[in-house]
């Protein structure tokens, strides 16, 4: 068996930047982001699609990056937590999460932030129930979720024009 599989070379649009990358074709998007692009902000808790820690946005939709192959993402628009802030200015979701205790250990946080961003991009006034539904695939072991709900609601308020 060949221990060194060949590499593929392709381009993603990562956080608004055209990003060429070469990687072993068996790699998931999660692995490509973390290992080949050094974007370690995206986390993992299972690599089986069960925890939501690896959620990123692909063409604006939340996806579990551990379930997507890197080769499937050629030319697609990928957003990770590293791209959420505008320069030094935190995204309102980030600011609200930090202010309201929605990130305790912070390990589930990138996945939840990205999932919440997709929600607010579509629905700027989500109800508590909609928020619960939207992040129901993201496990958080620290907070009990309540401060996360509140932070998403607060971010929605802060984002009002």
């Amino acid at each position: 068996m060949a221990a060194v599989p060949q590499r593929v070379h392709l381009k993603f649009l990562v956080n608004g930047e055209e990003t060429p990358v070469s990687f072993a074709p068996y790699k998931t998007l999660l692995e490509v982001l973390r290992e080949d692009l050094n974007l370690t902000g995206t986390k993992h808790g299972c690599e089986l699609g069960e925890c939501g820690a690896c959620a990123v946005l692909i063409d604006g939709e939340p996806h579990l990056s551990c379930l997507v192959l890197g080769v499937e993402c050629e030319g697609r628009r990928i957003e990770t937590v590293e791209g959420l802030a505008d320069g030094a200015e935190l995204h309102p979701l980030q600011a609200a999460f930090a202010d309201l205790g929605a990130a305790q250990c912070g390990y589930c946080t990138p996945g939840i932030l990205m999932t919440a961003k997709a929600l607010l991009d579509k629905d700027p006034n989500p109800s508590r129930e909609t928020i619960k539904e939207a992040i129901s695939g993201n496990l958080c072991r620290c907070t009990g979720y309540q401060q996360i709900f509140e932070a998403i609601e607060e971010a929605a308020v802060r984002m009002k024009p």
Partner: protein, 813 residues
């Protein structure tokens, strides 16, 4: 400790000092570390629960291109274990495996993929041994022994303590309640899987970055495991992506990557996969309990005899401490004149159990609080009133010689019942709906370290220089609970600074003074006290220099908002930076240290070291449930929790700790269980883990969580920094029994074992419909060969805290 004056930082709701890093993805967890020339490690784990290893054939794996090193038990002749009394593990199996998942060999390769392929090429020949699946089997089968140490046969620890003559107390009681309870094991499930990176530095010394809650203990234990001087080892605790007790052991993989890195002269990383995290475990012990409690007709406790039987799994871990903790804290919540406690921990062929949030105390707490509900029912008393009448008194000793300081429990009960409208709801909610109450208490730090010594439990060092910066160094470990924020807040409060202007360097054994780690809810109290001491010393130097400049005595100066000024004339002031410059001129380079050692506990008998704490926190919890009588499904619309926190350091974080505890308690009440099953005899009859995946190990999602009403009760404790007690574990404890009691209120059935799943509720409802005892729970308690008790007289019976004879008792009035 220092609590005078108006507080400007302590008690204010703030963004935590490390909050920005956490929301930008910049917090560097262990698996985020990438070093040049780094190799990757994977472990081969046992597929058998108990077997002898006859041969390990690694030839094929060694030849796989990209493989750099293969290690087996031969490379690790020395045992290890986190407690000095339980050195019973090998980093890689030494001829014997004791649970499915016990590590056997390690491959270090150029990448994870290659290492994983190589694992498949290693051949291991086993001789399977008889397996022990639970403590009863362990008691019945002293042979073959899983370990050749321990109190007897397959019993790891067995012990008995009696504080006053309990049988006599029970005989004189109006009623004696005799109940059996079972608490199933469950696991921590931090979302971060354990990861470690080991690397030799330029001098050939070792650095280990790891997801650990206890870098100091790891540092000590690693030096022994590697047979290397501790001065050549540096352990850096990365911020943990959740710990909950699961990252408190020295783990096999930490030793393996360290050895590999030293051998290869290159960095080596490992990150466990989720299945391996389940095998690593060290979680909640399954505990069977028998609790006999005497009461007077008006609901006062007269005595309690608690027996526990713990399923320890395949190794010792923190088991000796866990065994004590299934009993020692039963006395600090309510007045209990006499108490007897028998405990036994058995070895079984399952992943080792250890400390999980609440360490050993949630199990007996569940039993005690459900039993109190039964007592109230029988005596026709309101269970909240019954508890209010027996709350322990402040500044007293308990029957087992624990010193209680402040106690805010009565206020917790009053607030939780008032906010939940308890009086209007209890026994009045109608069919299928109910409300339940339970209380608890917990340590704010263990009074003794896990290895015997008289040195400080926490040390803090401060650096201040002419730039106006202040850096604080402490071995404490950030596991999400906010220890860095507490550290910065304490120093900022004393020095009149903004906490965001203080730099925290923590959890690094090469740079930071020893702190014993993030366990037993000890950090706020111990690190906090050390930090205040250091900051007060630095403040005194700065005040002396500033006083000279401002021509006042130092005691007339105030430190606030980054300035040092004359208290009654704030126009006479210096900036903090200027004041530090003058202090540097006067004293030379500035620095200060502080340290903290808990007060000596009054108990003098052997075993009195487990249970003492500088302060106990208290909680009261009210839970509302709706039970669907057709399906047994339990819905929880709302939970009220009142927690005696002493003083709140940062309300945002305190609330998070309390709600996170309630979440985890509710999870244990309703769904979490780490269970095993036997394969059919034709398939080896082996004992396997039923659910080593996140999908099947049920934990609550955002959709499952009820609204939580958190009430923080502030009654500053003089032993604590600015009066602050713990908040991260105590509030978990009352949730499980409050749920069970609410279910009784709703449908009149008792579920005396956890988790309370719909099938158990249905079964109990069927029993009820058939006119039988509507209870589901353990039916019998096996014969356990508990030894003769160590007898100690309670303080009020003439005891002196030492072991004594039964007839030394003086008459009790």
């Amino acid at each position: 400790m220092s609590t005078q004056g108006k507080l400007r930082v302590i008690g204010k709701a703030r963004r935590r000092v490390d909050g920005r890093a956490k929301v930008t993805g910049l917090t560097r967890f262990a698996d985020d570390i990438v070093l040049p020339r780094m190799l990757h490690c994977r472990l081969l784990r046992s597929p058998h629960p108990h077997a002898e290893i006859l041969e390990i054939i690694t030839g094929k794996a060694e030849k796989l291109p990209g493989v750099h090193l293969i290690l087996t038990g031969k490379d690790f002749p020395v045992t290890f274990g986190i407690m000095p009394v339980a050195q019973d593990e090998y980093p890689l199996a030494n001829g014997r495996v004791r649970y499915v998942g016990d590590p056997i060999a390690a491959v270090i390769a150029k990448d994870e993929q290659t290492a994983t392929e190589a694992l498949d090429l290693i051949e291991v020949k086993f001789k399977q041994l008889k397996t022990i699946s639970n403590p009863e089997e362990a008691l019945q089968n002293p042979e073959p022994r899983i370990h050749d140490y321990g109190d007897q046969g397959n019993i790891h620890r067995i012990q008995s303590y009696e504080f006053g003559d309990v049988d006599e107390a029970l005989a004189k009681s109006d009623h004696v309640f005799d109940d059996l309870f079972f608490y199933e094991g469950n696991t921590h499930l931090p979302i971060e899987q354990h990861a470690s990176v080991a690397a030799p530095d330029g001098e050939g010394k070792l650095t280990l970055w790891s997801s650990t809650q206890v870098p100091h203990y790891i540092h000590r234990a690693l030096a022994r495991a590697l047979q290397m001087p501790a001065s050549h080892i540096r352990v850096i605790a990365c911020p943990n992506g959740g710990g909950f007790g699961g990252k408190c052991d020295l783990h096999n993989h930490e030793i393996v990557v360290s050895r590999a890195a030293l051998k290869l002269g290159r960095p080596v990383k490992i990150c466990l996969n989720r299945e391996e995290v389940f095998y690593m475990h060290r979680g909640r012990h399954p505990v069977l309990m028998r609790m006999r409690t005497g009461v007077t007709k008006d609901g006062k406790l007269t005595g309690m005899h608690l027996q526990t039987l713990l399923d320890g799994g395949g190794y010792g871990s923190y088991g000796p401490a866990s065994t004590f903790y299934t009993g020692v804290l039963q006395t600090v919540t309510y007045e209990l004149p006499r108490y007897k406690f028998d405990a036994c921990r058995a070895f079984t062929n399952k992943p080792p159990c250890g400390p999980k949030r609440g360490h050993g105390t949630p199990q007996p707490r569940f039993g005690q609080e459900v039993q109190l509900d039964k007592i109230a029912e029988k005596l026709k008393l309101d269970p909240a009133e019954l508890r209010l009448n027996i709350v322990a008194k402040p500044d007293t000793l308990t029957a087992n010689w624990l010193k209680i300081g402040t106690i805010g429990l009565a206020e917790c009960i009053r607030q939780a019942t008032a906010r939940s409208d308890w009086k209007k709801k209890f026994r009045k909610m109608g069919p299928g709906r109910g409300i339940g109450i339970a209380c608890s208490s917990y340590l704010s730090g263990a009074g003794l370290p896990i290895y015997w010594n008289k040195m400080p439990h926490s040390g803090v060092q401060l650096l201040a220089d002419r730039s106006g910066q202040v850096t604080v160094f402490c071995g404490a470990t950030e596991i999400g609970q906010g220890s860095d924020d507490v550290l910065a807040a304490m120093v900022a409060e004393v020095l009149g600074m903004d906490p965001y202007d203080i730099r925290c360097v923590t959890g690094d054994t090469a740079l930071t003074p020893v702190d014993l780690g993030s366990y037993s809810s000890r950090v706020t109290v111990m690190m906090g006290n050390a930090a205040i001491q250091a900051a007060e010393k630095l403040k005194a130097q700065i005040a002396e220099a500033a006083g000279e400049q401002l021509e006042v005595i130092p005691s007339r100066l105030s430190f606030s908002d980054g300035r040092v000024f004359v208290t009654e004339n704030s126009n006479k002031s210096l900036s903090f930076k200027e004041a530090v410059e003058f202090a540097e001129v006067k004293f030379g380079t500035l620095g200060a240290v502080g340290s903290y050692t808990p007060p000596r506990a009054p108990g003098r008998y052997k075993g009195a070291g487990v249970g003492p704490s500088p302060a106990y926190s208290y909680s009261a919890c009210v839970v509302e449930v709706e039970v669907d009588q057709a399906t047994g499904w339990i819905a929880v619309p709302k939970i009220w929790i009142a927690h005696d926190i002493g003083r709140t350091v940062n309300p945002v974080l305190a609330r998070g700790q309390v709600e996170g505890s309630v979440y985890m308690g509710l999870a244990e009440a309703l769904m979490e269980e780490q269970v095993f099953r036997r394969l059919p005899p034709k398939m080896s009859h082996a004992l396997v883990h039923k659910i080593p995946s996140l999908l099947e190990y049920k934990s609550p999602t955002s959709l499952d969580m009820p609204e939580i009403d958190t009430i923080l009760i502030e009654d500053p404790d003089p032993n604590c920094p600015f009066g602050a007690k713990e908040a991260g574990q105590g509030p978990l404890l009352p949730v499980m029994p409050a749920v069970a009691n609410a279910i009784f209120d709703a449908v009149g059935v008792r579920i005396d074992e956890l988790p309370i799943t719909p099938d158990k509720v249905l079964k109990a409802l069927e029993l009820k419909a058939a006119g039988k005892n509507p209870r589901v729970g353990p039916e019998r308690f096996p014969l356990v060969p508990y030894p003769k008790s160590i007898f100690v007289l309670p303080p009020w019976e003439g005891g002196d805290g030492k072991e004594s004879k039964r007839d030394d008792a003086v008459a009790v009035v």
